[in-house]
Subunit: 341 residues, 6 copies
Amino acid sequence: MKQKVVTFGEIMLRLAPEGYYRFVQADTFGATYGGGEANVAVSLANYGFDAKYVTRLPNHEIGQCAINSLRKYGVDTSYIARGGDRIGIYYLEKGASQRPSKVIYDRAGSSIYTATSADFNWDEIFKDCAWFHITGITPALCDNVAELTIEACKKAKEHGVKISCDLNYRNKLWSKEKAGEVMAKICEYVDVCIANEEDAADVFGIKANDTDVTSGEVNREGYKEVASELTKRFGFEKVAITLRESINANINNWSAMLYDGKDYYFSKRYNMQIVDRVGGGDSFGAGLIAASLEGYDPQATIEFAVAASCLKHSVEGDFNMVSMDEVLKLAGGDGSGRVQR
Amino acid sequence: MKQKVVTFGEIMLRLAPEGYYRFVQADTFGATYGGGEANVAVSLANYGFDAKYVTRLPNHEIGQCAINSLRKYGVDTSYIARGGDRIGIYYLEKGASQRPSKVIYDRAGSSIYTATSADFNWDEIFKDCAWFHITGITPALCDNVAELTIEACKKAKEHGVKISCDLNYRNKLWSKEKAGEVMAKICEYVDVCIANEEDAADVFGIKANDTDVTSGEVNREGYKEVASELTKRFGFEKVAITLRESINANINNWSAMLYDGKDYYFSKRYNMQIVDRVGGGDSFGAGLIAASLEGYDPQATIEFAVAASCLKHSVEGDFNMVSMDEVLKLAGGDGSGRVQR
Amino acid sequence: MKQKVVTFGEIMLRLAPEGYYRFVQADTFGATYGGGEANVAVSLANYGFDAKYVTRLPNHEIGQCAINSLRKYGVDTSYIARGGDRIGIYYLEKGASQRPSKVIYDRAGSSIYTATSADFNWDEIFKDCAWFHITGITPALCDNVAELTIEACKKAKEHGVKISCDLNYRNKLWSKEKAGEVMAKICEYVDVCIANEEDAADVFGIKANDTDVTSGEVNREGYKEVASELTKRFGFEKVAITLRESINANINNWSAMLYDGKDYYFSKRYNMQIVDRVGGGDSFGAGLIAASLEGYDPQATIEFAVAASCLKHSVEGDFNMVSMDEVLKLAGGDGSGRVQR
Amino acid sequence: MKQKVVTFGEIMLRLAPEGYYRFVQADTFGATYGGGEANVAVSLANYGFDAKYVTRLPNHEIGQCAINSLRKYGVDTSYIARGGDRIGIYYLEKGASQRPSKVIYDRAGSSIYTATSADFNWDEIFKDCAWFHITGITPALCDNVAELTIEACKKAKEHGVKISCDLNYRNKLWSKEKAGEVMAKICEYVDVCIANEEDAADVFGIKANDTDVTSGEVNREGYKEVASELTKRFGFEKVAITLRESINANINNWSAMLYDGKDYYFSKRYNMQIVDRVGGGDSFGAGLIAASLEGYDPQATIEFAVAASCLKHSVEGDFNMVSMDEVLKLAGGDGSGRVQR
Amino acid sequence: MKQKVVTFGEIMLRLAPEGYYRFVQADTFGATYGGGEANVAVSLANYGFDAKYVTRLPNHEIGQCAINSLRKYGVDTSYIARGGDRIGIYYLEKGASQRPSKVIYDRAGSSIYTATSADFNWDEIFKDCAWFHITGITPALCDNVAELTIEACKKAKEHGVKISCDLNYRNKLWSKEKAGEVMAKICEYVDVCIANEEDAADVFGIKANDTDVTSGEVNREGYKEVASELTKRFGFEKVAITLRESINANINNWSAMLYDGKDYYFSKRYNMQIVDRVGGGDSFGAGLIAASLEGYDPQATIEFAVAASCLKHSVEGDFNMVSMDEVLKLAGGDGSGRVQR
Amino acid sequence: MKQKVVTFGEIMLRLAPEGYYRFVQADTFGATYGGGEANVAVSLANYGFDAKYVTRLPNHEIGQCAINSLRKYGVDTSYIARGGDRIGIYYLEKGASQRPSKVIYDRAGSSIYTATSADFNWDEIFKDCAWFHITGITPALCDNVAELTIEACKKAKEHGVKISCDLNYRNKLWSKEKAGEVMAKICEYVDVCIANEEDAADVFGIKANDTDVTSGEVNREGYKEVASELTKRFGFEKVAITLRESINANINNWSAMLYDGKDYYFSKRYNMQIVDRVGGGDSFGAGLIAASLEGYDPQATIEFAVAASCLKHSVEGDFNMVSMDEVLKLAGGDGSGRVQR
């Protein structure tokens, strides 16, 4: 098994109508589990890493289902605390064509909200750990969890663990101001910063010029400045930014840029027919971590992360169910989708 | 359309694995809606009454789905207030044979919890209303809702509306002590008291002799005293008690007793092969209300209510989807289940 | 392949909610095909006979689906005429416990209604044919089809083909008076008469004493007289009567009696847990025909027919998907339902 | 609630295989309900109008299901007459790529065919009504229904109700000659005429030059003349024509033109990835009615109607399950399909 | 986590039509995984033991699916060897009423057939191990696997591990003679012998008097002699025999007897409504191991094992998804199946 | 019925997750049947030919299901031999966007592997037969089946039957060397050779210049030389080559070339949105055979074959469920996918 990687956050029950049915039409919901950091953990387990997920879940059957969904794919769940009353829920309606996907959160008061330091033995958690990953979603839940996140970062740093953070701004969870304030504190501990084409502007007010995210076109050059400004402000080792061009809910272009404090590396751009868009960013983060831990050079790293997340868009559910080989094959050039037999 | 009947309470999203799958095995959940008082409203709409449901639901798509599930069956939803953050949820796992059904509540903090007097115009609601029905589940949610329930009862009384209450003790929601205290206050306003074979003991400590509810046998005679004692204590006009004998999760015997302050009326006893047991008690309550409003004599009343709820056990979901004709046909004697063609 | 057997009638699209859902709850309908005489044809094909089905179906895809459902199980469909506007439909709601199954017919105006003599080459159809089977459902459709049925019977007789008829009274299709009149004409040609515990009374007013079909008990002895009276009136070679005791919609007792003009043969009685009750009588008729053509003695014949139809009650859909071996094994005594591995 | 709008026509049971399965492959059919005018009613209810649907349905459970499907979405069904023998049916096979969708009608003899004037109290129906909508499908059913339609139009005019009519030519229901003759009579009462790129030619022989509807390209300019000619002939207040360019069964371009007797207003053109194409035209009609009643200017009106119907193509089923807000958001420019969270 | 328990055998892909559909009717198969020894491992993981499963699976996605199905429920899969060409398959058709369930094996040539000693490091596997469980199915596959089984038993004995064996005769896999010969060799190492009411007769010719397994009745007393004879022959520490009485495919009585070389302990007898019968015996074995490791007295042990396996019959799939608490509650007396809420 | 056409090969159980789920996510598999030559037989039956399929299948229910899947669509299955132990299986995971479809074969040791000459009466099979079709998949299974194939070809030639062969190279079944050797022997008997854009290179080392099949572009001109070289080497009457351009797993361009030894005929090129790509080549072969037997000229022949196979890509499952009329309509120019109603 490859290196130990820890991720920390919330895993939710995802309730989604089948296919393209709208909420009001649905009589059954697919019941799967997901959440930004859990998605990263599953990706890393799929790549052969010793992925451990840290969270808190209620001590009932639905909580156990969430754990089982991680165990099934080889994520170590032994650090997960049990307690609290409920599992967070998000309802997902898949968009199509000009109709956007819709997310309804029902996560307030979930078990992670009432977690305390006593729930997590950070020293044991970070022992022999190579990487720690968090996102901007977890501290957005409530002040208590924000503090737990900062505490975890401190502990990780003490143990010499590399830290990555996906800014992942969610405007249904907190204001831009609050986000900017809290994320600035967290970014002090972060080595590798991950963002999408909007996050830096939303959280820190750092904007790319000439880009309108709803128009289906992004100005690649403008993101060089965004990365450089982020690095200047927080001293990141690396900044990676995904560049989504939304033609419509079914068709997106997908690429990314990596900045290592010196050079800018742009990936290939994929034209994607989307199966499930949720978890796309998380699969990029996981690809970046995996490529970094494997010691790939910057261009190979960004190509791996983008190919990994391109494939995610063809997979149902939050989790990116692909292997190293599959990602490397796409990064190496075969996107023709020919049958393998 | 027949008389106006109002019910007040919570309607929840019911998430249940298909067939006899356990929670940990399920990848999809049937997504329907139900709740004690809503179930009564649907039954009454099915019988042709002008059933109106009063509750509070969040102003998002899932809240709308709950409303639509009522509108679909002809319940008037125009008194439903919109607001708050979440819809209550209950997870249901259907039991089989010696394995009991399981319910996990996730209803804390739902929109009804934060309802206020301003959400409901009781004077309009009870105008020209013939009957008001509540259950012991609603006041069990929290003190705020308990007070709203009492307020509604007062208003109903002012408008001369007949009030029925199903004691419906839920030990996952409150203690027996708290239940006894609050329900005693509510019972002051109640005309018709409905209970199952355990409720009077749980809520008011009034026990039937020689009955062990887990043994599959109940002592019918003992319930005469329970009804008489309840009437003595609260001055009810009528007391109706359902008598379930659980052979196992699939097979139950089902009957009931009605006490009108003078005589005791026992119904036929049905041996049931259960399809879905949830909402069985509610369908009994609805049958009792319907028969009362139709002016049936006591024996016909209890036969109607028991036949109605017997049929409910053969119907999937919380709601009792049967018509007056179907109930009358069974009450009149044909339980042979022969194909109608 | 065994002898050639021809059946004539209507095959309908059967639309049925999944499991025990009621019509008003269903968002999908299982779409299968069935009808009394088609069901007999499939059973006989399953037993290895050269079963040929004669009907008329519209020349569109749904008509083709009905044909394919027969071809799939080895029924020869080459005599089926194409034409007319629509396929007959029946909606089926499966009952449970005290709630009966429900059938809604939408078959008026289907392709068979407008069939003419020119659609069927009876001489070719009955060439080398050993048996012809009809039921009381087909002539009930309309006068035109009743005449076609009589014409077919005449032709069959000319070719020396043995004729069986299942009385199969359907009160949603015609009155008892009309049924009695038309069926009397048809019975002139019939050699083997099949009926259930109610048909003889409904069609010809011949009643068994002391039997209330809705009470779950039948008086076996009373049917001796029914069979003898039928034989007296129409000169049947054999009369077979099925005796269903409906405990409820899930549990029935099932047995039958055969009268060969001399002796009365009663079968074993099976206590059945019902999966799908529709087509139960048809599977009995098919069993009787098969056993007769195989040359079984009267007791073996009635045991075979009853075991065959007992198994049908455990099979979803109209068609009885069981083999000779399976029937013989049950008739021979093993109804324990032990796993075969 | 916004203004009262009445629509009149047939609502059918829609039986459709799941996904892209062909009829001959399907073992289950999705069972939903739809029909041109009912689809318009649901759209309008979704926009907050007091939508009332007038039709006739059989007095059995499947008829009730159709009513419930409308009640569920807030359409008032109290004017619906019950009677007759059957509900109309249409079988729908969804096309893909170069394979077209297929519709098989089985609607002859449905309850609406045998409706009479006595079934509908037009004076009550049109009291306080702002708009009446019909389509060319209803009069195509049979002469009786055509007369009822004309009667309704007369009554509507008496009550000063604005009338819109979607020409909606269906060549499986009547000939072009018959259509031209009957529709000409109806158009005398119509204020707002709605048509697709083929209707005017099919019904009235008014053709746009240089357009081949199977080639995936329409000549926008040619439709100016069509609208002007229609107006000249029938004195319409407004004519709206949808312009579908079929690339293949999955991909269409979609736009429309509005003519107010003076100017021609062309909408944006959307490139759509189609989820369900049925009801696309109806959703356009509903959008046009809504925008008109809201008092939008002509350009905003046509943009609203086209955006509404563009969204319909992303929704499963006949009904357009979208809100005013969603339509306005797309009309206002965001068709990027980005996740809303 | 409780003690380490190892089981060794084959895990297969189980392909089964939904509900009660027969093979010839099914268009989809539920795709789950199971096998006698894997089922025991899952049960033990559910009870909190450190259950480890040893087998060999192909190195492709379906092999991985089987592993994931075990990981999901907490079984340690790190000892599983990868290699070979195929996963064993069994097709299962669920019986109902008088129609028995049917199993078709397609397991020949699966990865376990070609396993070698090099695939398993027995010393590591049995380090700190408390119990080793095997069944008569594994050695029945082929001589190679039979030898591997004996090798494993020897190694387990060297490490002082307690060994249990479920005789589990499968007549589709080998003859009674071959079974008797091979199982006799294996039984030399076995401490706890488990059998059903037929196994001892099939494998070793040791018969209970007066018992006909197809008649629905077993002679409890006769099994005392069977257990005593088995103990005499092989020196077992304990013998446990399950006693199934098959009323029909849906209804069975279920009980068992434990013999500890001195006394005979009979359990309660449960009347079961069966959901899924496969894995019933395995869940008994797992219950026996768990109770033994927990140090229960003989009566409590047999009650636990029988209650555990009684519950299994109410659970879909091979695996017994129940907890210690649930089993203890039933063993303690509550089989009423009342809803827990 | 049109001419008799015989195809010979294997039919497998196809197990495929629904929609775009990956293997590791699936809890149910669609269970259909298919295989290169069986697919051709079904297409021809759909076109009205007397299609007969020759293979060997196990004598159990799953074998029977495979037969039924062919009977359902009108293929004559009376030449199919029964015997052997298992049916071949292939697991199919449908790809999307940049993720390719995946096939796992589990066909070794299936009933066809152990077939012998005695299983097939070739003289009867080829009596009055117009065409015999095989593919390169069947001889790839094992030497025994390769010899059977050659034997069949010899017999067909004796009976003057025209022979077509689809090279269909499968690198999971045999090496290129072995394929080249065996196929060269078979091609001696072949009149019409069918290949895709890679087969000739894989099997015989005959390459088209300037073509990279993973780049989404093929060099049409290069295939002229391939066809001419194939003809030179084996004396084929006709060579047909399909030219697939894979943009991604959802979008392909599709066209083909026919060489009649004199001229090269290129078809139109279709841009396809793929529903199910498996069986695409087989449907081309069937189209070619049908057009040839119908006597179409070369251009019409290749247009028919390409239109037929274009439509296949829009149909779920291996079988091409389209009629002559549908193919001719597309070949004639209407690929707009407009609804037919």
